[in-house]
């Protein structure tokens, strides 16, 4: 256990208003100015801004409040306690595994700190196709700057770990540009376990920034409490009904002047679906995007030790920037951290072949390609629907258009790994095997059937489903984040995005929600408030 100071436990000792789970029973009825569902990127920013504006804020989080004292850098503890569905959330055909946080701080508590502003090309596309004229690069810049200052987002000055350095070396030999990733850290120990919760509180997640600030200034947090449904009447939300996440105990009815959904791009649409929210144009839960990710593993003679050091510090947008955004699907390249469980489940095969791959663990380099979905008519994303028990599931058909992009991405990654000096390269596909040279690998991958449940696909970026649009026929919420049909309900999370972002989405959520929350605070009669 970390012996470092734990600001969350100190806050609780100071008298933060936290209820639910081990923090005590939640009252039957609660009232506030703004009820926020979720506690991740969008919820945290909204909570701080609205609290700064003098409004009474209440957050409802389904997951537990875990703190640095709990973060022992163990996958066996982190996945069940910090992730949706124990880090095994799947699309309905089981072809894509989805990593999303489910704890105070949401995905920001477990992400790998990569911070990118929304790419200008993405904003241009939104302006042209979704009537989002106010979403220009220059117009959003001040809101990104505030988020960057507040969350210590900046250059990473230590040398990249070998996993990332190999991306740069291989790409450079092929004339492919790479660049540094900005990170949201302060006093980072370079441990490499960001995905398991930061035990030193260096990662400037919502868990250690906006939410403590809001709690110190009077906000109220319910944990281990599930937002079940909204009660609706006459185009307004009249209450938010919550139940204990354990399934045992009485319901709580929360009344507020305004409600903010920030539960992530699967759970936010699900709350609206369970509430039978109006959806006259059939947009709710549609166009959900994932940045479907394919992977390539390579063995090097030297040690890589991909578990050690800041996880993602270099990237390449070569395969996004050298082709039109609405043409064949492009992809961003990054080098992810590897730990035993995530590696054992991701790497294909069984028996001695799998054992051999596991023994090569310290010498294994992994690249991922994030496919930029949502910009082409053959990439319409997926749709969220409800199971019989009310829980959400995502249908995400992996179209041939997407899977051909996956094939090109595997080829690009393998070529970079061979250029970096890999001894053998394994594209992560059930019919592939480790290849010894680039020509053999190229021929083999050109012939692989690119089908779901053969090519391994994962995602950690769920976006869309409650898309922003300037026209009610094109989206679920207005450009100010307010629901087109429900006047006191806003969506403030990654569900807002009308396409995928084309970059790790945390800073896109911070920046865009920062503006929406400031506008909301003003409309509600609050004081002017900025993040930093």
């Amino acid at each position: 256990m970390s012996r470092l100071p734990d600001p969350i436990r100190e806050g609780l000792a100071r008298g933060w208003r936290v209820a639910g789970g081990p923090h005590g029973a939640v009252p039957d009825r609660l009232a506030c100015d703004v009820a926020i569902v979720g506690s991740g990127a969008g919820a945290g920013i909204s909570a701080e801004i609205l609290t700064r504006a003098g409004l009474k804020v209440l957050l409802v989080e389904e997951g537990p409040l875990k703190t640095s004292s709990d973060f022992r850098q163990l996958e066996s503890e982190a996945y069940p306690s910090l992730y949706q569905e124990s880090a095994a959330r799947k699309t309905s055909d089981k072809a894509i595994t989805i990593l999303q946080g489910r704890c105070v701080g949401g995905s920001t508590t477990v992400n790998w700190t990569s911070s990118f502003r929304t790419p200008a090309a993405t904003l241009d596309h939104w302006q042209r196709h979704f009537g989002l004229q106010r979403f220009g690069n220059d117009e959003l810049a001040p809101f990104f700057e505030q988020a960057e200052r507040r969350l210590s987002i900046g250059p990473w000055l230590l040398p990249p770990n070998e996993n990332n350095a190999l991306l740069r070396r291989g790409a450079a030999r092929l004339g492919i540009a790479t660049a540094a990733i900005q990170r949201n850290v302060k006093g980072c120990w370079n441990l490499g376990s960001c995905g398991l919760g930061c035990p030193t509180n260096a990662k400037q997640s919502m868990l250690v920034t906006t939410i403590p600030w809001a709690l110190d200034h009077g906000a109220h947090l319910l944990v281990e409490t599930r937002a079940e449904r909204l009660e609706l009447a006459n185009g307004r939300v009249t209450a938010l009904v919550c139940v204990p996440a354990s399934g045992e105990g009485p319901a709580t009815r929360i009344t507020a002047r305004h409600y903010v959904l920030a539960a992530g791009a699967i759970n936010s649409p699900a709350v609206l679906l369970r509430s039978q929210a109006p959806d006259p144009h059939g947009r709710l839960g549609q166009r959900t995007f994932l940045h479907p990710v394919v992977l390539s593993a390579a063995h090097f003679d030297g040690k890589v030790e991909g578990w050690r050091g800041a996880p993602q510090t270099l990237y390449s947008d070569h395969f996004l920037e050298t082709q039109p955004i609405d043409g064949p699907i492009g992809y961003k390249l990054e080098a992810p951290p590897v730990h035993p469980v995530i590696f054992a489940t991701t790497v294909t095969g069984y028996g001695r072949e799998h054992a051999d791959l596991m023994r090569q663990f310290p010498n294994t380099h992994v690249l991922i390609a994030l496919l930029r979905d949502g910009f082409h008519e053959q990439s319409p994303g997926g749709s969220v629907r409800l199971r019989g028990d009310g829980s959400p599931q995502l249908d995400y058909p992996l179209t041939d258009f997407v899977m051909e992009g996956a094939r090109r991405a595997l080829l690009s990654m393998m070529e970079i790994q061979f250029a970096a000096g890999a001894r053998r390269v394994l594209p992560v596909h059930e019919l592939a095997r480790p290849y010894l040279d680039w020509n053999e690998a190229r021929r083999a991958v050109a012939a692989l059937p690119m089908k779901p449940l053969l090519a391994k696909i994962v995602s950690a970026h769920v976006m869309g489903g409650c898309g922003l649009a300037g026209d009610p026929a094109l989206g679920v919420v207005r450009p100010d984040g307010v629901h087109w049909q429900l006047q006191n309900l806003s969506v403030h999370d990654g569900s807002l995005f009308p396409t995928s972002v084309g970059a790790n989405p945390q800073l896109s959520i911070y920046g865009i929600v920062n503006r929406l929350a400031q506008d909301l605070a003003r409309r509600m009669g609050g004081r002017d408030a900025i993040l930093a």
């Binding site: 970390s2 012996r3 163990l74 799998h354 023994r359 449940l453």
Partner: protein, 168 residues
């Protein structure tokens, strides 16, 4: 797995069982009261042997202990899954534990405890590359749960050359 696919499989398996003289009502669940039921333990023991060959200790007593530990960790892993996933896995394991289901899904003629390792691996390979997405789903569920449960234990880390978390 998709509810519709499961229904289809359920009907198919029911027909096979009826022909074989069994009845669906006799299917024991694979997961019950928060842990693997006997059907589930049997399947995971032998699937574990096949998937982890080369990673498990070679010494029979040590291997048996490692498989016991694996089953305990599968219990913990599955207990943390949401109810819909537990239910699907329970159905999968209960089918795999019947002779008809084992033949239909894994293409394995002999029962788990007597089937040779190579036979079980062949069955897994046929699921892995099957044209039926249901069989591929089943393979990946077994692969991922086994791999996650086994390598989450720090006792397996020395053979991976993984030092474990840094003390802070």
């Amino acid at each position: 797995m998709r509810r519709r696919s499961w229904l289809k499989l359920g009907i198919g398996a029911a027909a096979v069982l009826a022909i074989g003289g069994g009845a669906v009502a006799l299917l024991g669940p694979g997961w019950q009261r928060g842990r693997l039921a006997p059907a589930g333990r049997t399947v995971f023991t032998h699937v574990g042997r096949a998937l982890l060959e080369g990673s498990l200790p070679a010494n029979p007593a040590e291997q048996a202990a490692a498989l016991d530990g694996l089953l305990d960790r599968v219990d913990a892993l599955v207990a943390a899954l949401p109810p819909h996933a537990q239910q699907e896995l329970s159905q999968l394991l209960s089918l795999l534990a019947t002779s008809a289901g084992r033949r239909a899904l894994a293409g394995l003629a002999q029962d788990w405890p007597v089937a040779p390792l190579a036979g079980i691996q062949q069955g897994l390979q046929s699921m892995r590359i099957s044209s039926l997405s249901l069989r591929r789903q089943a393979y990946q569920a077994l692969h991922d749960i086994t791999g996650a449960a086994y390598f989450s234990d720090r006792g397996t880390w020395p053979q991976l050359g993984y030092p474990g978390p840094m003390d802070i």
